[in-house]
C-alpha cells in the first residue's frame, strides 16, 4: 500500500510489524557479541522494549496518531531495558513528541518527528558513542529527510530510512575499533534495522505473523517447575495454610459493565466473611482481571467470580506443599512487614547466592537480573513502589542496566532516588558491604559508596565459545578468558593461571588489600579450595574470601579492593 499520510491505526500497525520482525530475528542480534561469551542480550532487550510499547497500544483504536504515539511512548519508556532498549525508547519518545497533537502526518511531518527522535536519543545518552544504534538511527533519519519532498509518501520516507540504516550498520565496524577487531557489527544498530525492515514489510503489504516465541520467552522467565514433595501433606493433615489461588478472569459484557467495573468489588468479596482471603493482589487491565489470594475455600472463590466473567487460567496450590511461594506473594508479604524508613536500598542481582548475600547486607529489594536479563524501567518502578522510604538508593550491576534505572528514577515521584554507578556485580557487592546509614548524611553516604566503587577492580572469568581476537588477546574456543574492568586481558586453558594473570594486570595490585571471589554455579566444589590457595600463594598480602554466587556463565567474579 502507498500511504500519503500516516494515521494513528497505521502507525500502530507498522510499529507492531517492526516489533514482530525484530522478534523473529532477536537471537541473531543477541549473538552479535564482541566477547566470545554466550550472554549477549541486545536483541532480547530491544524486543521486549518495543513489545511493551506495542502491547500498550494493542487496544488503542484511535485514528489520531498523536494519541497512539503518546501511549506507545510511555509503554516503551516503562518497558525499556538494556542500553539499546533505553535508547530505542528515547528514540520513540522523541518521534512521538513530534507526532503530538497531530491527527495524521505527511512524510515531511514524519521526518520532522524522526529528527526529534535523534535529538531526544542523543540528549538522553551522557556520552553518545558513534558506531552504535545512535549513529544508525541518526544517519538513516538524515538521509530520509534529504530524500523526501512535499510530494513524497510515507513509503518513500521509510525506504530511504532503511537504505541508509543498512549502510550505516555495515559501517559501525569501521567506527568502533573493538567491533572491527572482533569482526562484528553493532548489535543495537542491527536490532534497529530489523525494526525498520518490519515497518517496510508492512508498507509493502507483506505479512509477518505474531510470533509464539513471545509467550515462550515470557513463560521461561518464571521459575522452572519445582518438584513438589507430596509427603508434606498426609492423610491426617488438616489444611492450615489454605490454598494459594491465582486466576485470570475475562470480564464479560453479558455479566458486568466492563468500562465502569471497579476491581474493588472483587477485593471486597475476597476479603469478606465468606472467603476470608489474605495476601490479596487484584489488578484490572480493561477486561482482564488478575487475582492472587490465599483462602481455605478456593471452590467458593471460583464460584463467586463467575458472576463477573469467565476464567482464562486458574492455578490452585496447597500451601503446605509450596516451598517456593510465587514472587508476587512473597513481595506482598514483605511489603506488609515494611515500615516507613528514611533509606531503602534496591539492588539488581542474578544468582541465588548473590541475592541472599545482598539481603543479608540489608538490601530491601532485590530485582532479579543482570548481564543476560536486564530489568526494565518498569521493574525498577515496581521495586520503588514496594518500598516506603524517603530515599531509595539503587545499585545496578551492569552498565546496561544503569540507564533503565535512571529512567525509572526520573519517572518515579514517590521518593528521592539515587542511582549508584555500580556497573559490575563485584562493584555492586563491594559497595553493598559498606552499606551504612549511621551518619544520616546522604552526601556522605553516597560519597562512601562511590569511593568503594572507585576502589574496586572487577574481574570476570568465563569460557570462550569461539576462536577470536579481542583487545589484542588471541583466544581459542574453550579457553578461559579473563576480563578486567570490561576488557579481555588474558586467556588460557587453565582457570587459575587466568586468575593469577588477571590480578597481575591490575596496576596497583600491591596496594590492594581484599579479594572476594564469587563462585558461579558451574564451578566444581573441588576446584574452590585450590582457587583460594592459588591466590594466597601468589599474592600473600591479600586477604582472600569467597562466596557462592550461583551466577551463570561466569565461573568466577572477582572484586579486588
Amino acid at each position: 500500500m502507498i500511504l500519503k499520510k500516516l494515521t494513528g491505526q497505521q502507525f500502530k500497525e507498522l510499529t507492531t510489524y517492526g516489533a514482530r520482525n525484530l522478534r523473529a530475528n532477536f537471537e541473531e542480534v543477541d549473538n552479535l557479541n564482541v566477547f566470545p561469551v554466550p550472554d549477549g542480550d541486545t536483541g532480547t532487550n530491544m524486543c521486549r522494549t518495543i513489545e511493551n510499547g506495542v502491547n500498550t497500544i494493542a487496544n488503542n483504536s484511535s485514528e489520531v496518531i498523536g494519541d497512539v504515539g503518546k501511549e506507545l511512548s510511555s509503554g516503551m519508556l516503562l518497558g525499556a531495558r538494556g542500553n539499546s532498549g533505553v535508547i530505542l525508547s528515547q528514540i520513540y519518545r522523541g518521534i512521538c513528541k513530534g507526532l503530538k497533537g497531530k491527527e495524521e502526518v505527511s512524510a515531511k511531518e514524519l521526518a520532522s518527528a524522526y529528527e526529534l527522535g535523534v535529538k531526544q536519543a542523543y540528549g538522553a545518552v551522557v556520552t553518545p558513542v558513534e558506531g552504535t544504534i545512535l549513529t544508525v538511527f541518526r544517519e538513516a533519519t538524515e538521509a530520509a529527510v534529504k530524500a523526501i519532498n512535499d510530494d513524497s509518501t510515507i513509503n518513500d520516507f521509510y525506504e530511504a530510512h532503511l537504505k541508509q540504516a543498512i549502510k550505516s550498520l555495515a559501517q559501525t565496524k569501521e567506527l568502533l575499533p573493538v567491533l572491527k577487531e572482533a569482526d562484528v557489527i553493532d548489535s543495537g544498530g542491527a536490532g534497529y534495522v530489523y525494526i525498520v525492515k518490519g515497518i517496510c514489510k508492512f508498507l509493502n503489504g507483506e505479512k509477518i505473523e505474531a510470533s509464539s516465541i513471545e509467550s515462550e520467552v515470557a513463560s521461561s522467565e518464571g521459575s522452572a517447575p519445582i518438584a513438589i514433595d507430596f509427603s508434606a501433606f498426609g492423610p491426617d493433615d488438616v489444611i492450615t495454610f489454605g490454598y494459594c489461588t491465582e486466576f485470570i478472569l475475562r470480564l464479560q459484557n453479558s455479566k458486568v459493565d466492563i468500562e465502569h467495573f471497579d476491581i474493588k468489588t472483587i477485593i471486597d468479596i475476597l476479603e469478606g466473611d465468606i472467603i476470608k482471603g489474605d495476601s490479596i493482589v487484584a489488578l484490572q487491565d480493561e477486561s482482564i482481571v488478575k487475582v492472587h489470594v490465599h483462602t481455605k475455600d478456593p471452590g467458593k472463590v471460583l464460584d463467586m467470580m463467575r458472576q463477573f466473567g469467565e476464567f482464562l487460567t486458574i492455578k490452585v496450590e496447597n500451601m503446605s506443599l509450596q516451598h517456593n511461594e510465587s514472587i508476587s506473594d512473597e513481595d506482598l508479604a514483605k511489603k506488609r512487614n515494611r515500615q516507613h524508613v528514611k533509606y531503602a536500598v534496591v539492588a539488581v542481582a542474578q544468582g541465588n547466592g548473590i541475592k541472599e548475600q545482598f539481603e543479608a547486607f540489608g538490601v530491601d529489594y532485590v530485582i532479579g537480573g543482570g548481564q543476560t536479563m536486564n530489568p526494565s524501567t518498569e521493574d525498577f518502578i515496581h521495586a520503588f513502589k514496594e518500598l516506603d522510604a524517603d530515599n531509595i538508593i539503587v545499585f545496578p550491576n551492569n552498565k546496561n542496566i544503569v540507564m533503565a534505572a535512571k529512567q525509572a528514577a526520573k519517572l518515579y515521584k514517590g521518593a528521592h532516588i539515587e542511582v549508584i554507578m555500580s556497573t559490575s556485580i563485584p562493584q555492586c557487592y563491594s559497595a553493598l558491604t559498606m552499606l551504612d546509614f549511621t551518619s544520616d548524611d546522604l552526601t556522605l553516604i553516597l560519597g562512601n559508596f562511590n569511593e568503594a566503587i572507585r576502589n574496586v577492580d572487577t574481574g570476570e572469568i568465563t569460557k570462550s565459545i569461539r576462536n577470536t581476537k579481542v583487545h589484542g588477546v588471541i583466544i581459542m574456543k574453550g579457553d578461559y578468558i579473563g576480563i578486567l574492568n570490561g576488557k579481555i586481558v588474558t586467556a588460557n586453558k587453565n582457570r587459575n593461571i587466568v586468575l593469577t594473570n588477571l590480578l597481575k594486570k591490575i596496576k596497583n595490585i600491591k596496594d590492594k588489600q581484599v579479594v572476594t571471589l564469587i563462585y558461579g554455579k558451574d564451578i566444581k566444589e573441588t576446584d574452590k579450595p585450590k582457587t583460594v590457595e592459588t591466590l594466597n600463594k601468589k599474592f600473600p598480602q591479600l586477604e582472600v574470601g569467597a562466596i557462592d554466587g550461583g551466577q551463570s556463565v561466569y565461573d568466577l567474579l572477582i572484586a579486588v579492593e
Binding site: A360, T433, T438, N455, Q513, E543, I547
Partner: protein
C-alpha cells in the same frame, strides 16, 4: 584528711612501668578456658604484667581456637587489693572498667557501702565508672594521678573525672571479625557486619560506655589509616599529651604503619607510646586488635543496638 590510693582493674592496660611511675595499683579480673590441646581447665588472673603467659603466648591461645571466658573482679580480689591500702589507713579511689562491659564497679560499690565502710569507718572507697576500657580507662586513671599530684582531694578528683571522663577517646579496629562475633560484645546491627569479608569495624567507646562500631572500613590498612585520621579529627591539645597506641600481638608492620600515620597527621603529640593491648578486652577482640587512645572531643554518640 587521708591520702588516697588509685586503683584500676585488668581492663586498664596500664603497664607495670606506668603503674610504678604513677603509683597506681589494679584489681585483677579472671580468664578461664578448657584448652583445645591438653583438654584441661585453666584459670588465671588477667595479669597486666604478662608473667604467666607472654602477650604473644596469650593471644596464641586465641589463635589456637580457645574460647577464653573472662570474669569480673571477685570480692576476694577487691578485699586483697583495697585491703593493702585500707590497712595503711588510706582512702581508695577505684577507677573501673566501663559498667557497660563489666559489673566490677557494681560489686565494688556494694562492698564499699556494706563492708569497707563498716570495717574502716574513717576511710573512704570512692568508685568512678570510667565508661571506657583499655587504655582509655588507663588514661582516666593517669588523669587521677595528675590531680592527686596537684594535691586534689579524693572527692575533687572523682568529681573532675566524672565531668571529664568522656573526653578520653578510644578508636580501635580488629583484624578479623571472628573473635568479636564469638563474644557478641559489640553493639551493632547484624546487617552492619553480616558475614562481610574484609570489612573492619571502627570501634569507639560511646557515651554510655559501650564499644560501638560507628563505621566500617574495607581492608586492614584502610582501617589503620582511619584510626590515625580519627585521632586527627578528634584530638584536642595534642602538644600537651602522649598518644597511646595499643596492639594485641599485631605485626610490626601494622604497628609501624599506624604510628607513622599518626605522627604524620598529628606531629604535635609529645610522644607516641606503644603499649600491649590487655587480656580481657583482647579475649573478645582477638589478636591483631589495634587502637589509639587520647584526650579529645567529648564523646556524645550513643550506639544503637
Amino acid at each position: 584528711m587521708n591520702k588516697f590510693a588509685i586503683i584500676t582493674d585488668s581492663t586498664s592496660d596500664l603497664t607495670p612501668e606506668i603503674r610504678k611511675a604513677r603509683d597506681i595499683d589494679y584489681a585483677r579480673m579472671m580468664v578461664s578456658w578448657t584448652d583445645v590441646k591438653d583438654k584441661k581447665d585453666h584459670e588465671i588472673f588477667a595479669s597486666l604484667d604478662w608473667e604467666v603467659y607472654s602477650q604473644h603466648e596469650y593471644f596464641n591461645l586465641l589463635r589456637d581456637g580457645n574460647r577464653l571466658i573472662t570474669s569480673q573482679v571477685t570480692e576476694q580480689e577487691f578485699d586483697r587489693v583495697f585491703g593493702i591500702y585500707l590497712e595503711k589507713g588510706m582512702d581508695v579511689l577505684y577507677i573501673s572498667c566501663s559498667s557497660a562491659l563489666s559489673a566490677s564497679v557494681h560489686l565494688a560499690e556494694r562492698l564499699a557501702k556494706e563492708k569497707y565502710s563498716k570495717k574502716y569507718p574513717n576511710q573512704r572507697v570512692v568508685c568512678v565508672d570510667s565508661l571506657i576500657a583499655c587504655f582509655g580507662e588507663g588514661l582516666v586513671a593517669l588523669a587521677a594521678a595528675d590531680l592527686r599530684d596537684q594535691g586534689k582531694t579524693i572527692d575533687e578528683t572523682a568529681a573532675w573525672l566524672n565531668e571529664h571522663k568522656l573526653e578520653y577517646n578510644q578508636i580501635a579496629t580488629v583484624e578479623t571479625l571472628d573473635y568479636l562475633k564469638r563474644a557478641g560484645r559489640v553493639k551493632a546491627s547484624k546487617a552492619f557486619f553480616g558475614n562481610i569479608f574484609g570489612v573492619k569495624p571502627m570501634l569507639i567507646s560511646d557515651a554510655v560506655g559501650n564499644n560501638f562500631a560507628f563505621e566500617k572500613q574495607k581492608g586492614r590498612r584502610n582501617a589503620l589509616i582511619r584510626i590515625a585520621t580519627f585521632v586527627k579529627e578528634n584530638v584536642i591539645n595534642p602538644e600537651e599529651q602522649v598518644c597511646y597506641v595499643s596492639q594485641a600481638d599485631a605485626s610490626q608492620e601494622d604497628v609501624k604503619l599506624l604510628v607513622d600515620k599518626i605522627k604524620e597527621l598529628v606531629p604535635q603529640f609529645k610522644a607516641i607510646e606503644i603499649i600491649p593491648f590487655g587480656p580481657i578486652i583482647g579475649a573478645t577482640t582477638g589478636p591483631g586488635t589495634m587502637g589509639a587512645f587520647f584526650r579529645g572531643k567529648k564523646v556524645t554518640v550513643v550506639g544503637d543496638n
